[in-house]
Each structure stands twice: as C-alpha cells, then as structure tokens.
Amino acid sequence: MCSKDATSEKNLILQAKNGDVVAFTQLVYRHDKQVLSIAARFAGNAEDAKDIYQEVFLKVFRGIRNFRFQSALATWIHRITVNACLSHAQRQRKISLASPEPGEGERKPAFEFPDEDARTDGHLLNQELSDRIALALQTLPPRQRLVFTMRYHHEQQLKEIARAMQCSEGTVKRYLFNATRRMREQLEDLL
C-alpha cells in the first residue's frame, strides 16, 4: 500500500472508531474480497465461506474501536480470518465426528467460481480440473490448507502469514512444504 493510501486508510479507521458508518463501509469494501476469497478456498463451499465472512466482519465491527494501530489493518483482518477459518474447521470436525456420514445434499458440494469460459467446450474440462484441485485442497489439514491458500492463491509473504497465524516463519515454511507435497500426491495423475 502506498503512503497516500495508508494515510487515507488511517483516516478511515479513525472515523470508523468514532462510529462513522461510511468509513466502516469503505474499510469493509477494501478488504472483504480477499477475505471472501480465502474463506471460499479454505471452506470449499459457499455456505461455509459465508459463515466465515460474516464471522470475520462482525468481529471487525465489534473490535474496531479497540484497534490500536499496532499492526496494519490488513494484518489484523487476516489474523481474524485465520482464526475464523481454523475455528470453523474445528467445528466441522466436531460435527463430522458426531455424525460421520452426513446426508447427501446437506451441503453445497463445491464452491463455484465464475468462469469466463462458461458454455464453451473448455468449460467442462476447466470445471473438472477446478473440482479436482478444490478436492485436493480439502484433503489438507486446516493449517496447511490455510498457509497454502494464503501463499499460493493470495501471494502473501511467509512473514505476513506467520504474523497472521501467530507462529514462526519456520513453522509456516513447514506447513507450506507439507501442503505442496500432499497436493502433488493428490494430483499426481494430472502431472
């Protein structure tokens, strides 16, 4: 972010801290696309992505008045997103342990990203490929999935991810390495 943007973001945060609805709206609109994108890839379906998105911005709304500028707003939002994703995965695990075989149609099976090639010959192939990749991603343990999503899809620096996940850079590297190895194994037949 350039310094002019940073100043304008700081002003927006100060206004939002004072209850300014316009400023809060602008802050949400600046960051929510990335939050939704991470949530969608992490969760793998629209319903769960919605839950994560809601949880993140309700927390941001409740906590903005206590925001002390000790980190960038994006880092703070990423941290909230990471926590929301991980607690979501934990809840899912509890649910699946309680009822090991969920009924068909209870969840939307896959998250569909809009495809510019829709209705062309390549569409089905792309969709199939996309489903395979999404499925492979879902087999990763939550922390590996999160690191892989943030590094690969959102090109975040490892130190940023480490800050958001509140762990060391070395740990993030380990998650990334293991995630890449597992993805390779899952998609071996396509390589």
């Binding site: 609805v21 316009v22 709206t25 629209a46 809601q54 709304f61 690969y152 190895r181 390779r184």
Partner: protein, 322 residues
C-alpha cells in the same frame, strides 16, 4: 537425508522463498542429481496446473450477497467501546496533572454547548443507524457517490410538510429522513434522479421535487431535471421532469431542453408536454425568437403525431400575425 533437505528447498524455491545462499546450494545440487531434477519438473508441472485455477475469484454477485447479509447481521450489533482501563491510560498519557483542570473546564464548556445545541436546535435531518454520525456528512458522501441510495419513500402527516426517507446502501443499515423542501434533501433527490438505476426511485424523486422546484430554485436540482429530461430511459420520469421544470423561472437552458425534447424524444406523450409548455410560454411572449420558430417548422414537417403538427402550425401562424 540430503535429498529430503533439497526437496524442501525445491518446494520453497518455486515460491521464491529461498535465501541467495540456499538458492546457490540447490542449483549446485541439481546439476549433479537427476532424481531431484525430475522432482523439480514435477513441482513445476504442479504449479502450472494450479495456475489454471489461481486467478479465479468469487464473483461480484456473491460478494454483493455477502455484503447484504452482513448488513442484516449488523442490525442490533454494537461496536465494543474501549475498556475503561485503556481509556484511562490514554487520558493519563495525554494530560499532565496540572493540565487536567484546564481539560475539565474545556470539557464542561464543550459538553454544555453540545447539550444546549441538542436541546434547543431544531433537527433538520434525522438519521437512524446503529452507528452515530452526522447527517450532513452522509448527504456529502451520498452526493459523492460513496453511498448508494437503495430506497426512497415519502411520509405525509397532517399539519407537517412531507418527509423523504432515504435508505442508504452500506454495511450498517442506515436511513436518512428530512423534509422534502429542505435544501439538502432536495440535492439528494436531484442526485437520486440523475443516478438511480431504479426508475421507481427516480419517479418518486422527481415527483417530490416538482411542487418545491420554484421555491428551491437550486441550480443543481434544475441541472438534474434537465439531464433527466434529455436522457432518462423512462418516459414517465422524463415527463415528470418536464413538468417540474415548468415551475422554474424560464431561461435559455430550459428553453433548449424543451426544444430538444420536442425534436428528438421518441415518446409522443413527452413531446406533447414539451410543445404545450412551449406554447404556453410563447403566449406569454417568451419563446417567439427565430430559433424556436425554426424548431416548430421542423416539427411541422417531420413529426409523426397529428396533434403535435397541428399545434406547431398554430404557433407559427400566431407568430406571423404578431
């Protein structure tokens, strides 16, 4: 052991996460290790495969849906206020003991002034939102296009002027209410008129402006009405804008807008309104110049509507007799 170390480096290399030393060491190893070179090719193939999917993002529709649901969830949710401890620490850091008396005095005056204002100043505009903020700022932000007007309705109660209630699209549900004749409300109505996608909102806005148009006589409102008359897709909205413009003091801008409407509007109803208005003005001796007569002649020759041609002929004849 050695391979497992280099495989880790290979993986991180593709993310550009190696130090220059690690990079050199890896490249030296790759030159002499066909097994790791194969592994590198596989990893590159994996990244190429993933790249086909990487740029895809959730669509705008889903994002809009999420924002709307968030707005709904925020109803009744309140932001946390800073804890007393953090407030106290901020205050004690900001004010030395001797300054605290001065601060107290200033605060008392400010609070007194604020309460006095709140108790005795008439409220022009009312805001309903879970967040507190100034209505004037909301008007400014809406006029700047930072907040979209999602809805507009009017409330009339006996003995008081009609009120316009704007619902504004933001993540926190917000409504702004004020008298239709209020200048700020008139500006918002004009903005809604020129920018709203919903023809129902535009029509309600223009109908609200019309009775107060001559009173407000605001340039921005008049410009919005002219813009709508020339460009709006909806004939009902254009017709109402024309009606509102007839309440304004007649001038060349309004004359030109009426003449353009007469020549080019595709709806005969709107053209009839335009020629009737021009006829009324001409009877008051206001539109009998050569440019106006030329338009009437072209209308007489080209318009497909019998009434409009007859009306144009009558105006031309009257002008000849004068």
């Amino acid at each position: 052991m050695i391979h497992s170390r280099y495989r880790r480096l290979l993986s991180l290399d593709l993310y550009g996460e190696l130090t220059p030393g690690q990079e050199r060491s890896l490249h030296r190893h790759l030159e002499s290790c066909p097994e790791c070179r194969t592994e590198q090719k596989k990893l590159k193939a994996l990244h190429a495969l993933l790249d086909t999917e990487r740029s895809r993002e959730p669509g705008e529709e889903l994002l809009a849906e999420m924002r709307q649901e968030l707005s709904f969830s925020l109803r009744g949710t309140r932001a946390e206020t800073p804890t007393w401890d953090s407030l106290r620490s901020v205050l004690s850091a900001a004010f030395a003991p001797r300054l605290s008396y001065a601060f107290g005095l200033i605060a008392a005056f400010t609070l007194g002034g604020f309460l006095g204002y709140q108790l005795f100043a008439p409220e022009r505009l009312e805001v309903s939102s879970v967040a507190s903020w100034e209505p004037e700022r909301l008007v400014r932000e809406s006029l700047a296009g930072n907040l979209r007007i999602a809805g507009l309705r009017f409330v009339e109660t006996a003995g008081s002027p009609p009120q316009a209630i704007f619902t504004l699209e933001s993540v926190i549900p917000t409504r702004l209410k004020g008298a239709v004749e209020d200048p700020d409300i008139q500006k918002l109505l004009a903005y809604a008129l020129a920018n709203e996608r919903n023809p129902g909102v535009r029509l309600r806005a223009v109908n609200a402006i019309a009775p107060h148009a001559s009173m407000a006589a605001d340039r921005e409102v008049k410009a919005a009405l002219i813009l709508v008359l020339k460009n709006d897709d909806n004939a009902g909205v254009r017709s109402s804008a024309l009606e509102a413009l007839t309440h304004y003091p007649y001038d060349q801008e309004i004359r030109d807008a009426l003449l353009l409407t007469l020549l080019y509007d595709e709806n005969p109803g709107v053209r009839i309104s335009a020629i009737n208005s021009l006829d009324t003005l001409s009877r008051h001796g206001m539109t009998s110049d050569q440019a106006v007569l030329d338009v009437f002649r072209r209308t007489l020759q080209n318009d497909t509507n019998d009434y409009i041609r007859m009306k144009a002929q009558s105006v031309i004849q009257e002008a000849r007799q004068q």
